[in-house]
């Protein structure tokens, strides 16, 4: 899975830590997901879509 987290964070000037707090997960989870080391669970994907006001498909795509 590819994701646009880095760009979406940059647009909002959010650090990984900022995003982690909004998502209520650890910074390491944000980093690992952003770098593609693993995929978020579906509930977390929904939460990510929520905080960016986008759909899951806007943010994640299959490679």
């Amino acid at each position: 899975m590819n994701n646009r987290l880095k760009v979406l964070r940059a647009e909002r000037d959010w650090s990984q830590q900022d995003l982690a707090e909004r998502l209520e997960v650890s910074r390491q989870s944000v980093n690992a997901i952003e770098k593609g080391r693993y995929d978020p669970s579906l509930p977390l994907a929904f939460k990510i879509a929520d905080v960016f006001g986008l759909t899951i498909e806007d943010i994640f795509s299959r490679d």
Copy 2:
């Protein structure tokens, strides 16, 4: 998470086994997801959306 799998299967007259084969997962996984015992991974959610020609948001929702 709620899901519309049962209805979507019914509309297509697919058994859980039929859907499992299209998704390349076990029938037990389809059953567990459909009954809400656990959520699919994000890659599987994408695949589910694919086989139904819908978005993840069309199929799954947070409760």
